[in-house]
Symmetry: D2
Subunit: 473 residues, 4 copies
Amino acid sequence: MTKKQKRPGAAKPVSKPWSGRFRNRTHRLVETFTSSLSFDRRLYPYDLQGSVAHCKALERAGVLSRKETAQILRGLEEVRSELESGRFSFAEEDEDIHMAIERRLTELIGPIGGKLHTGRSRNDQVALDVRLYLRDALGALLDSLRRFQRVLLEKARAHLDVVMPGYTHLQRAQPVLFAHHLLAYVEMIERDKGRVRDALVRLDVMPLGSGALAGTNYPVDRTYTARLLGFTQVSENSLDAVSDRDFAIEVLASLAMVMMHLSRLSEELVLWASQEFQFVDLPDSFCTGSSMMPQKKNPDVPELVRGKTGRVYGHLLALLTTLKGLPLSYNRDLQEDKEALFDAMSTVVASLEVSTELIKGLTVNRAMLAKAAGSGYLLATELADYLVTKGVPFRQAHVTIGRVVRWCLDRKQDLRDLTLADLRSFSDRFEKDALDVVTVEGAIERKAQIGGTARKRVEARIKALEKVLTLRS
Amino acid sequence: MTKKQKRPGAAKPVSKPWSGRFRNRTHRLVETFTSSLSFDRRLYPYDLQGSVAHCKALERAGVLSRKETAQILRGLEEVRSELESGRFSFAEEDEDIHMAIERRLTELIGPIGGKLHTGRSRNDQVALDVRLYLRDALGALLDSLRRFQRVLLEKARAHLDVVMPGYTHLQRAQPVLFAHHLLAYVEMIERDKGRVRDALVRLDVMPLGSGALAGTNYPVDRTYTARLLGFTQVSENSLDAVSDRDFAIEVLASLAMVMMHLSRLSEELVLWASQEFQFVDLPDSFCTGSSMMPQKKNPDVPELVRGKTGRVYGHLLALLTTLKGLPLSYNRDLQEDKEALFDAMSTVVASLEVSTELIKGLTVNRAMLAKAAGSGYLLATELADYLVTKGVPFRQAHVTIGRVVRWCLDRKQDLRDLTLADLRSFSDRFEKDALDVVTVEGAIERKAQIGGTARKRVEARIKALEKVLTLRS
Amino acid sequence: MTKKQKRPGAAKPVSKPWSGRFRNRTHRLVETFTSSLSFDRRLYPYDLQGSVAHCKALERAGVLSRKETAQILRGLEEVRSELESGRFSFAEEDEDIHMAIERRLTELIGPIGGKLHTGRSRNDQVALDVRLYLRDALGALLDSLRRFQRVLLEKARAHLDVVMPGYTHLQRAQPVLFAHHLLAYVEMIERDKGRVRDALVRLDVMPLGSGALAGTNYPVDRTYTARLLGFTQVSENSLDAVSDRDFAIEVLASLAMVMMHLSRLSEELVLWASQEFQFVDLPDSFCTGSSMMPQKKNPDVPELVRGKTGRVYGHLLALLTTLKGLPLSYNRDLQEDKEALFDAMSTVVASLEVSTELIKGLTVNRAMLAKAAGSGYLLATELADYLVTKGVPFRQAHVTIGRVVRWCLDRKQDLRDLTLADLRSFSDRFEKDALDVVTVEGAIERKAQIGGTARKRVEARIKALEKVLTLRS
Amino acid sequence: MTKKQKRPGAAKPVSKPWSGRFRNRTHRLVETFTSSLSFDRRLYPYDLQGSVAHCKALERAGVLSRKETAQILRGLEEVRSELESGRFSFAEEDEDIHMAIERRLTELIGPIGGKLHTGRSRNDQVALDVRLYLRDALGALLDSLRRFQRVLLEKARAHLDVVMPGYTHLQRAQPVLFAHHLLAYVEMIERDKGRVRDALVRLDVMPLGSGALAGTNYPVDRTYTARLLGFTQVSENSLDAVSDRDFAIEVLASLAMVMMHLSRLSEELVLWASQEFQFVDLPDSFCTGSSMMPQKKNPDVPELVRGKTGRVYGHLLALLTTLKGLPLSYNRDLQEDKEALFDAMSTVVASLEVSTELIKGLTVNRAMLAKAAGSGYLLATELADYLVTKGVPFRQAHVTIGRVVRWCLDRKQDLRDLTLADLRSFSDRFEKDALDVVTVEGAIERKAQIGGTARKRVEARIKALEKVLTLRS
């Protein structure tokens, strides 16, 4: 110590591991403003995982001795145990989880702990940690997406006989199976999973060994580190590896789309639960009341899911904005990636979970759906297609049936009330069979091509999707 | 109790104040998903302030007796004291700060506490709370903006003699005073303050008394409540009052613009602190080092401020998205306003504070600035304007000087190295005085119209702005 | 000419007014990529207006002679006439409307045209042009907003007797007047107008005389130019004046909020026009049909208005992103402001216009609204408030009525079907008058405080708003 | 005709193919507001391609006779020829390109043209058209991305011997090869291409046969249509197929990331071309001048590319917003997808093209780069790593070298000026070889692990990437 104090620059109170070239301590405001510890501490398991692998790679490269390696690994285990049990105490000068762990390691095992960071920088370290975190989180997300699909499939299968009005422009359009409607969401989620899986492939790149920006001076075998950590590729450019946040943006874009899908379903649930639609009953346990109006039972869950869509969009935009125009390589702006990712991920998973349970508890009001599907002019297209079978060009058939509808509207009557004579007053091509052909059941069953709402098609699709879910999970 | 239990519907375990018409308890997942307590608890002082005023208005309207009013007010004070001291314990079934406070009030003073919510709904209550919060927060924001301006003005005044190159397209353009450059940011903040003040005017509308959506059945004098709470207007439409989040979006848009301004200054600080510019030195205490590279002193603060711009943009977008397409009146989606507002507000205030201290600690490298302003072709426009004074149309003068520059570039020489003979080979209009006129000092002093960079103009503007800051703070 | 050609640098083919210092012509790709002529040509009236004022200010400053001024003004008039009549032919090398006009001016009046740009840069010129454009455009926007309000007020007045269910969470909540509901939108637009007016105040700053970035060398009286152009203030900092796009972002933020409001109304119109609600009929002339389904009459207009909300949000975000992190002063990135502004402005004005006509043509289905308002449990709060008048604390009354509702739900009966005996089985406080008090009419009329839905309140508010519209237009 | 006129509803002037049930013509304002013809006409080749395939599938299904098919196909060819040659005249009542083509077809071949739309709706038709367009556009985008990579690789290879300072936080950090820096962008683009290819896979789904929403009544073989159009999959749910715009959002998200990458390179080019950096010279033909300052040569191209990033982000956000909360199935809001896609696509392709040419024309200022890489404290990490090789724990070595740097800073001297004695005053571990080891060349060559900046690594990576580009294009 005496010796050290005589050395130049040594007289200053040192509080940071990097403060050798600094004359003054970090300003209190700056400590608070720049610290990431409040949110990056959740990365600790990944940070430890990365450090263990890095330590082993250093040993293999001959940078650490067998004994040093053992000491460091033991120390890291002790740190892990402290963190897991909540005994770990963070110090004021800890800027982030990386420095907190290294500090504690050195407290536990002495200066040898200072060898762990050899050939490594926080720049490649955090790139690794976030990738490890996302690999886990996306795995969990895929599970949530699958669970959601399963519940939708179960609900669909249990209601294969329920017909409802299909809508375009929120106007009743043609009858469809309720199951077919639910399956539309299963397809959306299927695409979401595809995007997540693609993101996982691009995430499967190990950045450690990129150092601060230029690579490492030590002969570590990066493919060995990658293997230890379960990656199949290593990053091919050190500057890119520490600057790149594509993976975070790609994940946020995929999450934004999941929320978009959930927002559409949520909108429908809110509509369906209204007194005007009355298509479904939401379980009491998924609704809340009003502090003022005693009769209220509000669909808070789908409303909140819909509302949280904005939040996830916002995170995507935030990170895109942050990255815009940043020169290479690492810039401190990149620290903003984590809170956006963490909050987006937990928002989406929570929204999926609660939506899954909500769908599970949903009661379908078969009577109302049947009534809605049966009335109105939902069979007008069937009538037009009938005329087509009698040789009328479709465009002309369309015009004719349009007039039929207009005529009914003026008389406030339904298509069902039309007689053959009525029909024939619009076109001589109408024959006796017209009134038999034009039924809700017929309309459903005729849509028998792939993707159509015919029952056998819908059933087959349920089966196929169930198989997909079995195979992949 | 025995009596109650015989009453219909009474046998069910009741956990929520609104659960009379419900058969089942709220699902655990839903409790977590919908609870706003983790973030809206910070509204408690405003919630209490609103409740006190509401209580007094109910008394005045004859709805509460003098004694009841006194009891409730005393209870509210007790609740406040518990909350302030941290003794308040939140219950699992508390959905939000409003219900938590009402619950506790009733525990403290008995069923009479249940009278407080008469003629009120959480819909108008939360609209009030957020307005009260924002009124305070915007006041504090104005203070932060003013402090930031003051530091910029002080820095400008202290460097009135420093010339620097002004830039367009990040190319050196014309010499300007360093103070003039700093004042540009004071002007931006001046506009920011204008927007905040306008937002405060539109915020000055008291929504309580709008009930859940339709108004209140009780003859409360809403202007009295408004007066108690320091508002000058009351909302004129109950449906609008509970659906409206314009004020939140307007605030977020203003905050986004503040961050945009800070991001521009931050970008400049990062540039100026680079080895290439060397225009300023940031204080050690505002920089951090590298975990790997011992020489590094990084401008983390301006980088992070710049990065956090995305975050605030994201919150603006999030709320805009959330509001899009919502039917009237209150929908649960609106709950998403608070976290966005809180985080945006604290991000902006922290960014302002840390930027204020950073500017205060900034060392200006006068030598480098002078060198940069003196070299290059920054006086080319002065030469063109010289020709104009000799009767050459500006466009033609511009072309001539363009050629002079080209000629110098080819010879790798500076404008300063030109002889009169050189100049006259481009135009006979050049006379002896040309070489005297074209100086950095002359270039600065000739920009003497309002808004120009002439020293007397800049000094006058500093004085004017100092006065503005004195008057309004 | 012979003389000129001997001069250094003169041998190169010159195509741009600024090309003196350049050796090579602009690349064809770059011409296309950087040209703004395709969109900024719409600024020509403002560019001419600015040039006229600049020319007069130059004369007053003694920079231009009386004769030169007259020539230039005559030339500008000729240019205007060519532009207005479509006779103006743009040249390939015209980069933007400013250079196109100057080029043509010089063709028409000779080299003297080259004097117009004395002491001016495109940087301050375009800042002026966009402000002049926005001043006009915001004036027109205010007119469109007022027209929209007027139609809403007329519709409200014409339906003062129509009751509808008010909603929270899209669940029927309490009865309100249809007029009250429409007035909510008038209030929103009133705030929109306030924001536009505030933006106009901040827009009222004349930037000309800021030059490229540092001010002007010529003794122009900027306040004179401002007066000629109808501005009350001049910019106070030249660097800021050419870098500032706050006014554009502020306008875009205001436009985004207008669209948000329109999106909410549009959502309601889509709902109301559905077969489930049937609250309104949209005029045939505002709907379109389906290419396939003959019966369809789709509410395309509100759907598109709702959809275009994203577009305007996108423009706001685009400009915020563009501005993020730009150093001072002018950077070419700023060119991106115009298309965003133009498209946002025309989208909003078109959406307002078409919504105005749509509301005008709307048929209100009084029977359906009455039926919807009468059924359900919309009077539950009235029942609770009844108990309050009998001394029951509100919270307890709420629970009691919640149980009443539950009991009715179980019996599938309405509140209207309750007998006094039924009521008294829940609370002894119910007396004979209960059944008289609890009516839709009573519920409406009791909401008689400011902002409430009582008819006299609504009528008074219509009157007040009509007066506001008369005064300000 | 006489007969028809007696039929009910026939007396009204008919202007739209779907107007049978309508009483009134479309309002002029609505025609303008809802028309998509101004932008969707660019889809005509895809619309015709789809119609040809649909026609053949109808024939195969027995819906059209051989003769009818031939007639229609001939008619479509005639329409194509008119459109290609510009002879096609659009009619006022044409709402979109689909109806325009069908109208013209029927004019050309008579009522038989009205058979083409059998079993088809504009909803599935436009979903097909946009997919076909995107398939082409993404193919072209991949080509542009590859061309850009090739130019970067060529530039890198041509400058393999050039060293530059690598940066973190825009502070000089460690020396890297200029080629290594350029390769970072090649890696980014490689990921961009991966995302585009993944999007193409998800795009490879044929939606035709989904009808308006429920499927088709006709026994068309959808896999046959898909084969004709070069798709490998058909959509599996008709409701989803007409509501889905995932593919558009996914493309916009990928485009946003491409722009983000280009914005980072553009920022660097702007920096490098500044008088402070002077790392590169941009070709004259890629810069423009100032209307006022004769010496200016501005990097407009990278500035504009950077600025246009906001525009593409805006389009992504716009479409996400539009989709939020839309119920199934088709809603008119979806029409907003096209302009966003078209503009984003052309912005990105133009930005890539112009950036490609710019990089090609870039002159690298080797002297400046060498000087910048040699000075400063870029070798501090090498010194620390030297101590590590002598057994000092890295963290301690870091602190020691930090003090060395501090000492040099105080003396305003460089690391190069240190003597062995100087070094040994900080640590006895320094030996004679220290001064040999610590060179720029050594620093570069020691970074020899995968992804490092050692020349052999960079060269190998160039080779590998060149191979990738050969194989895939």
